[in-house]
Symmetry: C2
Subunit: 251 residues, 2 copies
């Protein structure tokens, strides 16, 4: 049940101006030029235009669109030479263009989507850090956090703390397995801060796991690793170390 290309034109325009979600499925080819460049030969894909003017071409695989554009200016026209419906998404900065030519349209429809709610996510890194700001003594006795999310010349330090000997301690928190880049990050912060303060600064990497290479590099630069055993899932979630510490108070 092929649809007329020209009939689709007003449907698209109406959808875009009304901030409805538009779905267009058909045989098309795609060209992108901007930060990179790409060509996609003819094939069946879905074009998805959303209320925020996001413009995405989906193949029948992968989570991510094969081509896309955010905050685009969308234009539609009927290309009589090639007998196709031509949609273009443009962006000024950086200058990018995305052109889709539909030669057949199998399906087109726009949908009014009532959805005011936003997602509530648990277990993010900031959430972890906030909990850790309350108590770091499960790492070692006398380790006292005194500032979180410290904006820095070169980045943001998750937690600044002080150990029992009065040393400054940088704590880098990772919610998943720490890799080389995590260690590099911590090393960078430590370098910077020890230069600024002109005294020894410790760096502790707090993560559920760490790769062997990352651990090796960590030790090489006198940084420390502490396994972070935490539970995600709900607002009651607690870092196990803290929980354990609290219960052992009554031992």
């Amino acid at each position: 049940m092929a649809l007329g290309l020209s009939e689709s034109l007003p449907i698209i325009q109406k959808a875009v101006s009304n901030n409805e979600m538009l779905i267009l499925i058909g045989n098309c080819c795609v060209e992108y030029f901007g930060r990179a460049a790409s060509k996609l030969a003819k094939g069946d894909r879905m074009l998805l235009i959303k209320s925020d003017k996001s413009f995405a071409i989906h193949q029948n695989k992968y989570l991510r669109p094969v081509n896309y554009m955010m905050d685009s200016e969308i234009a539609v026209k009927f290309n009589s030479e090639e007998e196709c419906l031509e949609l273009t998404a443009l962006k000024r900065k950086p200058k990018e263009s995305l052109k889709v030519k539909f030669f057949d349209i199998n399906f087109i429809q726009s949908f009014k989507m009532n959805d005011s709610t936003d997602i509530r996510l648990f277990g993010s890194e900031v959430e972890l850090s906030r909990q850790l700001l309350e108590d770091l003594s499960f790492i070692e006795p006398g380790l006292r956090p005194f500032k979180g999310e410290v904006p820095f010349a070169k980045g943001v330090i998750d937690i600044l703390a002080e150990d029992s000997k009065g040393n400054l301690v940088i704590v880098e928190v990772k919610r998943r397995k720490a890799s080389l880049d995590s260690v590099s990050q911590l090393r960078r912060y430590k370098d910077q801060l020890s230069n600024m303060k002109n005294k020894t600064v410790r760096g502790i990497l707090l993560a559920p796991e760490i790769t062997p290479n990352a651990l090796k590099m960590l030790e090489e630069f006198n940084l420390e690793y502490f396994k972070l055993d935490f539970e995600i899932s709900n607002p009651k979630a607690r870092i196990k170390g803290i929980q354990k510490k609290q219960t052992t108070l009554f031992d």
Copy 2:
């Protein structure tokens, strides 16, 4: 035009088993538990299931799905208690679950998508590196590349080269503006290699741009930056420095 929830069940099953692309739009709520956890209250969304069993919930904004799962085992059932159609996507490793409850279905349809072609992308980093392997003399006279994509204990060095004085030179290529992490990366490689070879090793960062902080850090660690002026867009694309070098042969 509300559709019967139970009627949708066979449509979904057929689509999934036939690797067709399934679109389901309606009022739903979503719960995710796995690497993190999230809740999404009732609202209109689109569920998109693709041939590779990717499972994505799209809101009418953003390029990315609000909830999703890759390589999922998909199950459907009619929940008679809550009178909803319940779709679950499960994954073993890491253990994750995604549950969507549809209370109304505004639209459901599956599509056979004929699309064998893959995207051709130009201007990727490996493509750049391959070109640079041919000639690095536009950076400085006598700089000779001798190996690309060098697998390493801790990462992969883009290009290994030797300068006119016989020094080992690590060249890190970035296709976009270099930031602190790029410098950290280069620094990591340089540390490693100079330790291994026990002699001085130079590190050159090759990128179209660099942030001020990154440049500062670069200089701090005796690394070098060279502006990479390149054109993307097509197979004939050339790094301008190289092009210039070649043309100046006839000057």
